[in-house]
């Protein structure tokens, strides 16, 4: 068990190193930030001196190692626009993004799993058709459009909720619903087909034959066995969840890192972009690591692969 976790941990570090190298070299390849920082009327001597101070005259590999060294100590450079440490800005926005992402994750699990079970036990009923149609819609509707429709319905036509902004709980409802919609679609489908598969197994027939109550068969025998692949799916879906959060934050002006990153791209504020992407990658890798560890508890076979 410990060996497995250590191996997964080493792999996660490797992934992060990869992401850091890619973002660093991508930004490096995109051009010299000096001319942008000094302005057009800086003389060649000034530029030369500034490059020395910034360490931009050294070989790129050395620069990358310095970048890594600083990154390990939590120093990701200063925002070109706000002139504060980039990481501080990211950390400040992080709780908002986490609240949104985990809120949506929780809501989608609470909605999707019972819906999937219900649809699976009432095959070809009106409810089943409705569930299938809704999840097809959830897969086809882009996050930003669904969010806009929610604003038009629940903030404009029926002004029940605020259309945008952050800081209070009622402002969280529409963004969470938006982000959860796509996940509910995926998760419902998956739960439904998993349950249908499991319900046709022999041990379910046996459980029924023993005279166990319907609810016990469904939840103790069938759903538990469906949950194993669901945990995997939730892990795989974390990427879409984080990606969806970036877009949702921009629809609702929710003050998280997704909005910060997009604004930084517009302003060519590279330290924010690199540290934002790195933090996102780190969170993401960490969650995947956790999912894998949890998974190896549920299903010990994966440890020996």
């Amino acid at each position: 068990m410990i060996a497995y976790i250590l191996r997964r941990l080493a792999y996660s570090v490797l992934v992060l190193l990869g992401v850091s190298a890619i973002t660093f070299f991508a930004v490096f390849a995109s051009g010299d930030p000096v001319s942008m920082m000094l302005g057009a009327d800086a003389g060649p001597r000034q530029v030369e001196e500034f490059r020395k101070i910034m360490g931009l005259d050294r070989p790129v590999v050395v620069q990358y190692l310095h970048f890594l060294g600083r990154a390990v100590r939590g120093d990701f450079g200063r925002s070109l626009r706000h002139d504060t440490p980039a990481m501080a800005l990211i950390i400040e926005r992080l709780p908002a993004t986490m609240l949104l992402a985990f809120g949506a994750l929780a809501v989608s699990a609470v909605v999707a799993i019972p819906l999937g079970v219900l649809a699976a036990t009432r095959r070809a009923s009106l409810l089943d058709d409705a569930v299938i149609a809704t999840s097809a819609l959830g897969l086809a509707a882009p996050t930003f459009f669904f969010g806009s429709v929610l604003i038009m319905l629940f903030a404009v036509k029926y002004p029940l909720l605020p259309p945008s902004g952050g800081g209070s709980l009622d402002r969280l409802i529409l963004p969470v619903a938006t982000l959860a919609f796509g996940r509910v679609a995926v998760l419902t489908r998956f739960t439904r087909s998993g349950m249908i598969d499991v319900l046709s197994r022999q041990y379910i027939r046996t459980a029924h034959a023993k005279g166990l109550p319907e609810a016990t068969v469904l939840y103790r025998h069938a759903l538990r066995n469906t949950l194993i692949p669901i945990v995997t799916l939730v892990g795989l879906e974390m990427g879409s969840l984080l990606g969806g959060a970036v877009i949702t934050e921009n629809v609702f002006a929710w003050p998280g890192i997704g909005r910060l990153i997009v604004q930084a791209v517009e302003n060519r504020d590279f330290p924010i972009v690199t540290s934002g992407v790195l933090v996102a990658a780190a969170i993401f890798t960490l969650i995947n690591l956790l999912v894998d560890v949890v998974y190896s508890f549920i299903n010990p076979a994966v440890r020996y692969q």
């Binding site: 990869g18 995109s30 097809a136 990606g243 990153i261």
Partner: protein, 274 residues
């Protein structure tokens, strides 16, 4: 039920292709012509000397129907090009990795695993930040973001097909690797390739519209459904049609592609049929 949904999907795809091919010549108005006097006109049939705007006009008085039709060509053009290039690259690598195995396969699968796990939109945003904006760059971004999906699926299929007896038979008759790959294996994974390409078109449409919505994709004045929704976001309070119709165009297109894909999969693999 399944059959009817497949037909609906096909109809939507035909409609989308027709819009891309003939839409711009059918469009009743110039999609970029500004007419401030007619700004934010709700959907109208016209009459009384006023022109018809079936889907209304946007904040600059441009006809939304005409913009949607023109945008169809942009979107279909971008997604077909991106899917063709990506499929070419991904299928080749998937075939090679699955057929030859070895260190290339191992290395490739590591990259694929890492990239598949990473949020696509974040990857795309980073690339746009670095490379800049433009349609060529956008297509490149989609290729870099999506090639791994083909490698994953095609490699897995090749691993199955290469163990088939007909492959063994071909080898026994002295067929070269190249011949086995092109003649036997490629042909037998072709259906998987087509199903995947179909779903990928939908994915690219969603990705392109999301980037355009964030202002990082296709740049105005060239219309795409994504940037139309983006431009309309400031008028959500007063003018629902500016955002709703281009948004519906996206939903309908992706829904049609997905339904078609599912029907295709059902026809190919009858055991999965319900």
């Amino acid at each position: 039920m399944k059959g009817r949904l497949g037909v609906t999907g096909t109809a939507v795809i035909v409609l989308l292709l027709l819009a891309a091919a003939f839409g711009p010549s059918l469009a009743p108005h110039n999609p970029v012509e500004v007419n401030l006097a007619a700004r934010l006109t709700p959907p109208t049939r016209g009459g009384d000397g006023q022109p018809a705007h079936w889907l209304g006009t946007d904040q600059l008085g441009r006809d939304i129907l005409s913009r949607i039709l023109h945008a169809a060509r942009v979107t279909v053009g971008i997604s077909l090009t991106a899917v063709a290039v990506t499929a070419g690259l991904g299928v080749t690598l998937g075939l090679v990795a699955g057929f030859y195995r070895g260190p290339i396969d191992i290395m490739l699968m590591r990259i694929v695993d890492v990239q598949l796990a990473f949020p696509t939109i974040l990857l795309a945003i980073t690339m746009v930040a670095v490379l800049g904006r433009g349609i060529g760059i956008l297509i490149l971004v989609f290729v870099i973001a999506e090639w791994v999906r083909y490698v994953r699926v095609i490699r897995a299929q090749v691993l199955v097909v290469r163990e088939m007896q007909y492959v063994e038979a071909a080898r026994a008759t002295g067929a070269t690797d190249r011949r086995i790959l092109a003649g036997h294996i490629f042909r037998n994974v072709l259906t998987d390739i087509i199903i995947l390409m179909n779903l990928e078109i939908g994915r690219i449409i969603l990705l392109e519209s999301s980037l355009s919505y964030l202002g990082l994709g296709v740049q105005p004045p060239m219309p795409t459904w994504g940037n139309m929704v983006n431009e309309g976001r400031l008028y959500l309070q007063t003018s629902w049609w500016v955002v709703t119709f281009p948004g519906l165009a996206i939903v309908l297109s992706v829904l049609g592609l997905n339904l078609f894909g599912e029907a295709l999969r059902g026809a190919y693999d009858p055991t999965g049929r319900e």
